[in-house]
Symmetry: C2
């Protein structure tokens, strides 16, 4: 089985990143690494490193996307838990063998990373993102 490496991030859905940074950066004291648009997730994301992981503040950018509907229904709060593994394809095979309900049967391949979500029905209500860093040093 693939090796589980760490909690890569905890994602928090917020209405407005600038407003949210007033707490997470200015009051709690986390450092803001950067904010970026993530069109594949229909959102804008603020990355705040904490130890070996991150807190990510996620603001939906498209009203019809899943994350926007989540915000509308459940309000602001923790949205998903991202666990980094060394081999996501192998881990998905392992989960499928155990008949775990997945949102993505195959990894989504993006520059520098692969990702897949496990269905919260299988995980005591926690949306889990599996994540593999695929950045290779430049040759």
């Amino acid at each position: 089985m693939a090796k589980i490496k760490k909690i890569n991030h905890v994602a928090i859905v917020v209405k407005d990143i600038d407003e949210a940074l007033k707490f997470w950066r200015d009051q709690l004291g986390l450092e803001l690494d950067h904010v970026e648009d993530v069109p594949s997730q229909a959102s804008k994301v603020a990355f705040l490193p904490v130890g070996e992981g991150e807190v990510e503040l996620v603001q939906p950018t498209a009203a019809d996307a899943g994350i926007a509907k989540y915000l509308e229904t459940r309000g602001e709060g923790m949205h998903h838990l991202c666990i980094e593994v060394d081999d996501i394809a192998e881990h998905l095979i392992f989960l499928k063998e155990k008949q775990v309900r997945l949102i993505n049967e195959e990894p989504l391949v993006l520059p520098g990373r692969k990702m897949a979500f496990i269905h919260p029905k299988a995980t005591n209500g926690v949306l889990i993102e599996l994540y593999e860093i695929t950045d290779e040093p430049e040759s």
Copy 2:
């Protein structure tokens, strides 16, 4: 200001730890360190290390406690995010100066650790536990 060290744990409220371990240990593949009763939190907790942090599965043990009411109202899922700092007293002073709404104005002192919760009204809906490890090496 106190230094923020890491994500100490993500706590997940579950109805039944033994049932939940069928996913988190047997299917996802986390290691179970141990399960212990935590009377101060009216719960039983399973500790599953992930990198430098942990996933904690929390099963309420008293029907009238806050965590049991949370489970009844919201169902299973992520309950709180614990961030470890090097000096919780100093961090609480800093938060109070910034008029952040706290659940605990002073740290709760337990063997080996101090802890305090920030109110989710101040944090985009995330119950944050601040945590300081106070274990000293035996002399």
